[in-house]
Each structure stands twice: as C-alpha cells, then as structure tokens.
C-alpha cells in the first residue's frame, strides 16, 4: 500500500527499478545522490533539512534519497518518511561511515532483516585509515552477505564500483532469531519488510494491514545489537586511538567554561562577516554603487521615455515603491548578498558538526524555556528562514516543545532576509545600539519561553542525541548548498516582494496610504513615538517581515527611534509564508491564537521600549 502511494506521489513510472539511498545522518548520502543523478540536494549534519525526498530518473532506474536516520521505525517524522521510501525500494544503497560502524551497521542489519537486496558503501574509508582503523572488507561482505564497497565520497572514489555493484545487490544474512518469528506474519502481509516492522511494534505499518502492532521490538533490537557488535568486533581492527585534537576541541565546545567563549567567538566572526563585511562593504557596492548608481537611472530613463513617472502605471513601475526600481534594488542589491552570506555561514556550520555541540552546551538553558538542547536547531535554522525552521520543529519530541518552538520562532527570531536589513541598519547606528538590540530581543525570547514553559502543562523531554565527529566542511558542498538555498529564497521572495510593492504602490497613488498612515498614527506616532510613515513598513511587514524592515531602511529616524522600530518589526507578525506553515503545522485554532497575540505583543513591547528610550 505504501508503495502505491509513493509511486503516485512522486510520479514513478511502472516497471522502473527503485534504488534508495539510506544511511545515518551526515554520512555523505547526498554526495552519492548527486554523483549518480547530477542533481543537487541539501546535505546537513542535522536531520530536518532533507525532509523532502529528492529523486531523479537515470535510465531505467529511479533513484531516491532519504532523510538520515539511525533505524527504520516511527520515532519521528524523518523516520516515517525514510521508512516509507525504504519499504518501496527494489534495491537499497546503504551508506555507512567507516569510523562509526557500531552505530551505522544497526540500520544496515535492519534493512537486511527486512529482506531488501542491497549494497553497502563503506564511506570515509580514508578517514578511518587516518584514525588507525583497519576494516576487513572481505570479512564484512561475508558476514553481512551483501557487497561492500569502500568509498571516499568527497573524492569521488568508489562511485563506479558502486554503480557496478548494484547489479550484484542481494539479500543479506538476516538475524537467525527472526526465522521463527517472521513466517506467520509474512504469510499474512505478503511482505517480509512490513511483517518485520509490525513485529517491531510499528503502529503505522500495523494499521495499514489492520493488525495489532506486536511487542517484540526490544527483543529484536537487542539481538540485532549483539549481532552488529559481533560483526564490528570481527572486522574492525584499531591500531591506535588516533586523532586527539578534534576530540579535545569537541569537549571544549560542550563545556560551558570554554564553550561559551567559543560560541561568542563564532558569533562575533559571523557578525564581522555578515554584519560588517557583507552588510556594509558588499551592500555598499551592490546597492548604492551598482543598483542606485547605474541600474535605477537607466531603467528610469528607459521606461520614463514612454511612460511619464507621474502617471499611475509610471509610478507603479518606477516610482518610490516601483516594481522595477525599489523591488529590484532591494532584492538584488540588498537581500541577495546578505542572504548569500547567511546561508554560506549556516551551511558551513551545519557541515562542521558544531551544531549538536551547541545543543549540548545550551541544553541547560533551553530546559528553562521548555525546550531541550535540540530546540536550538529550529532556532538556529530560523535565523536562515523562519518558514523552513517551523517545519523542522517536527523533529522535537513532544507537541508541547513544538508549540513553544513555533511560537518563539514566529515571535523573536528574525529570518536571514530580515536580519540582513536589520544588521545593515544597526551597522549605521554603531556597536552600542547593536548590543542593545541583541540584548532586548534575547530577553524577549527568554521571557516568552519562560512564560510558555510556566503556562503550558507538562515538562520538556530529555536530551538524547548522537554527538557526531567534527569535520572540516567541504567547500564544494557548502557552496552548492548555499547556491540552492539562495536560489530558492530569491524564487520564493521575488513574487511576494513585487506583489507587496504593487500593493503599497496602489495604496500610494490612490491616496489610501496617507489615510492608513493617519488612521494608524495613534499607534505609530503616539504610542511608539515614530514618524507616521512607519505605518507603511508595518503594512509591508504583513507580506514579508524583511520587506517591513526594508521599509524602515529609508526613513529618517533617530537612533533611538530606529531601535524601537527594529525591535517592533522583529517581534511583528510572521510573513505570509511562515504564517501559512504555522497554520498547517499547528492547526487553525492554535494559529489563530498565535498570530494576534504576537501582533499585540509587538506593539506592547515596542511601546514600552519607546517610553524608556525616547
């Protein structure tokens, strides 16, 4: 049944061979996928960014990628996705990390037990060698019963061999203990893989076959663990305990005494790179130099020669909020370089393995906000894109944590585009105001989290995560990932931005903008003590938050006013895209509570700060 759904959803033609790439998180699966298909997908240390299944047709084969998982079952959203794709597979290429065989072979053995023909790619064999780990490949092949090919994905070593080995893919040696448990169920479900998952108590697969999930999970898991440990003991030879520098660094990153300064240093480097270099130097060239210096006069002349700028279509196209002037300048001159800088940093951080260590470091603090250390993942991703981050809240353990994370994301986390505009405005105000802004937004985050933790019944769940090895990010991977994300961003943002500009343009030429500004002036002028034109920025903020921030960019504001406006627009309602995701993920009832609450809080907090500062 699962196969049918998947075939339909992904539009897989009948009769093709489905080859599925499976493996633990961050073992280099995506590099294989790219090499086989020539397409690019997101690679990441953190589960959550490849929830969408990447797939491509190559000849008579259909190749599918899966999210990185430690086993096939239903512990979280990613596992459910991976489970359904693996269940539909004709052949599995299982990518394992040669340095972490005891962890990775658990999944390998499970897929073997499912009776799916497979090939094992023993990846990062060079790193294993460097760390003094010797693996007897032939013995491993013998014990697992499937072809094992040593590979070095980042150097493209072993790809040809893998492609050839696919023809030799076969079912491996499954656990002997299963042979007495499985046959009965197998007859009933007519599918060994699904029968196994029902034995292991998977409620979803059981429901598909209208049977009760069985209670043998622990027994089977223990037997599988024993077998994996035995295989590892037989094939792995350690000559020394190897690399010490990275393990020491890893420890420093997690202990507060060294971890907090290291985190602060990382954030400072990010600020210097994005907030100073990109936001000031690069944007200075792209926005003022290229766009406003050459592009805008050029397009004004070109269009102006047959459409007077004072006419209504002229104002909409090349006026103050013109689609061909302001929209293009903001997107290409301001947002593009900044978003590029953000994604470059984020991708490098993700690939290095630093993020799980930050999760360990901040676990204690996040517990007070009702999240555990893992909650830092959506929050950090939120600095990239709040919409995407809201989707990754799925990987948090409980509904309560998802609720808290969603609210915090919607309220106090500015996304990269918004942060881009904010940092360049703060750059003009100087380090003092930047510091004040950070402190204000961080305290709002902490207060909101603490309040939610106190209000909502229940307790945050405990941390239980894998601490992957630290790795130097691969420049090619980081660049490709940055390019993909930036392209997606521009594609998504441009129409919304243009639509917003058109809306504001229409409001302006019809005189409605003035009416709205006057109508909102008790809020903007009296309560927030800002010029009434800020209303425009807030109206734009409904469309996209960065758009709102960009609207503040050209207003004549005193430093204190800028700060009030920036904090208000940061807390201000999430953009249309993320609001839709919130409604989708959390349901209408919760969405309807979240949205106005945040709007109210934004103006309340903005007003309070304004009373203190101005």
């Amino acid at each position: 049944m699962a196969c049918h759904d998947l075939n339909r959803e992904l539009n897989i033609p009948a009769g093709v061979r489905k080859i599925v790439l499976a493996g633990n998180p961050n073992v280099g699966k995506s590099v294989f996928f790219n090499a086989f298909t020539g397409l690019y997908v997101d690679v990441s240390n953190f589960p959550g960014t490849t929830l969408e299944i990447s797939h491509a047709r190559v000849g008579n084969d259909f190749i599918l990628d899966t999210p990185g998982v430690y086993g096939v079952s239903s512990f979280n959203e990613e596992e459910k996705v991976a489970r359904d794709v693996i269940l539909a597979a004709d052949i599995v290429i299982n990518v394992v990390d040669a340095v972490h065989l005891d962890r990775d072979l658990f999944l390998t053995q499970q897929i073997i037990d499912m009776g799916i023909p497979m090939v094992v790619a023993l990846n990062m064999i060079d790193e294993a060698a460097r760390q003094g780990i010797k693996i007897d490949v032939q013995k491993m092949e013998e014990l697992l019963g499937v072809p094992v090919i040593p590979t070095v994905a980042i150097k493209k070593q072993g790809f040809e061999e893998i492609k050839q080995a696919v023809a030799r893919a076969r079912k491996g040696h499954s656990l002997p203990e299963l042979e007495e448990m499985l046959p009965l169920l197998e007859k009933k479900t007519r599918n060994r893989a699904e029968a196994l998952l029902i034995l292991e108590g998977d409620p979803f697969v059981a429901a598909r076959h209208r049977v009760k999930p069985m209670d043998r999970q622990e027994e089977i898991y223990l037997a599988r663990r024993r077998r994996v440990d035995a295989i590892v003991a037989a094939v792995v030879q350690e000559t020394n305990t190897g690399a010490s520098w990275s393990t020491r660094l890893s420890r420093w990153m997690m202990l507060p005494l060294t971890g907090i300064p290291l985190l602060a240093l990382t954030l400072w480097i990010l600020y210097e790179f994005i907030g100073v270099f990109v936001a000031q130097t690069v944007v200075g060239i792209t926005e003022e130099g290229i766009m406003q210096g050459y592009y805008e006069p050029f397009i004004r002349n070109l269009i102006g020669s047959w459409l007077p700028p004072s006419s209504i279509p002229g104002a909409l196209l090349i006026g103050e909020f013109g689609i061909l002037t302001m929209t293009v300048t903001y997107i290409l001159g301001l947002l593009l370089p900044l978003v590029l800088g953000f994604y470059l940093s984020l991708s490098a951080l993700e690939d290095s393995g630093y993020l799980p260590r930050i999760a360990v470091l901040v676990d204690r603090v996040l517990m007070r906000l009702g999240l555990n250390g893992r909650g830092i993942i959506p929050i950090i991703l939120g600095f990239g894109c709040v919409t995407a981050a809201t989707i990754t809240t799925r990987l948090l353990a409980s509904q309560r944590e998802r609720r808290i994370a969603t609210f915090l994301l919607a309220m106090a986390i500015p996304c990269s585009a918004q942060l881009a505009v904010i940092t360049s405005m703060l750059g003009r105000l100087g380090p003092g105001y930047t510091f004040l802004y950070v402190i204000l937004v961080a305290s709002i985050l902490v207060l909101a989290g603490t309040a939610l933790n106190w209000l909502l019944p229940g307790k945050p769940s405990d941390l239980l995560i894998d601490v992957p090895p630290l790795r130097l990010p691969q420049p090619v991977n980081v660049l490709k990932k940055t390019a993909t994300r930036t392209r997606n961003f521009i594609q998504e943002a441009t129409p919304l931005f243009a639509g917003g500009a058109l809306l504001i343009g229409i409001l302006q030429v019809t005189g409605l903008l003035d009416t709205l500004q006057n109508w909102l002036s008790p809020l903007t002028v009296n309560w927030l003590q800002l010029p009434k034109e800020t209303a425009t920025a807030f109206i734009m903020g409904f469309v996209r938050r960065d758009f709102g921030a960009a609207g503040l960019y050209s207003l004549p504001l005193t430093p204190a006013q800028s700060l009030v406006a920036l904090v208000t627009i940061t807390i201000f309602v999430p953009c249309i895209a993320s609001a839709l995701v919130i409604f989708k993920e959390r349901g209408w009832r919760e969405g309807i509570i979240i949205w106005p609450t945040i709007l109210f809080l934004a103006f309340l907090i903005g007003g309070i700060i304004s009373r203190i500062l101005i």
Binding site: Y70, G71, S73, F75, V99, H100, D102, R103, F106, L107, Q217, E218, Y221, L222, R224, R225, V228, D229, V232, N240, T241, G242, A243, S244, T247, R248, S250, R251, W252, M254, L255, P256, P356, A359, V360, L361, D363, R364, M367, N372, G373, D462, L463, L464, I465, D466, V467, P469
Partner: protein
C-alpha cells in the same frame, strides 16, 4: 548509583534504562542494559556525554538521573594516555 553522578573518565555498566522508547533509541546507538560505557564529559548542570568505542551520545541530566549504572573499576579504567587523549580527558 545513577549516571548523573558519574565522574569524567569513569567507566560504568548500564543496569537499567527507563522506558521503552528510550531503550530502543539507546540500543540503536549501541547502549543497552549490561553495556560498558565511559563517561567522557559532564556538563555542569547539563547533559552527560558517554562513549562506547567511538560513538558519543549526549544524555540530558533529567534522563541521566533515571539511568542506573554501576561503576566498573579496573581492568578497564581510562588510564592509557592515548585513550584519554582520544576522549579529550585531562592528562591525569
């Protein structure tokens, strides 16, 4: 004793893990009841990091308080300088 009381560098045997879901996830990472592990880092007020071979796992303090362990003395304390370096432990 419970895991949160373990000291850095101490070797322990896991006696009991709480709850089915936790047990299943821990087995996947190579940690089951009866398994020998090394406590490699204790974050003050925060998680405990344990290692089995090269696999490192961070366990939240609340969970560590519910995991029963017994300290395992020689013959396997982390004494060899190479092993200590590999776990990032202080020299002595």
């Amino acid at each position: 004793m419970t895991l949160d009381e373990a000291r850095e560098g101490q070797r322990c045997r896991i006696l009991a893990l709480p709850g089915r879901g936790i047990r299943a996830q821990a087995i996947r990472f190579g940690i089951s009841e009866g398994e020998l592990i090394t406590c490699t880092s204790v974050i003050p007020g925060g998680p405990i990091i344990v290692a089995k071979n090269r696999q490192e796992i961070a366990i939240g303090r609340g969970l560590a308080q519910k995991i029963t362990v017994e300290p395992v003395p020689a013959p396997h304390p982390v004494k060899s300088p190479a092993r200590r370096r590999a776990y990032g432990l202080p020299r002595s």
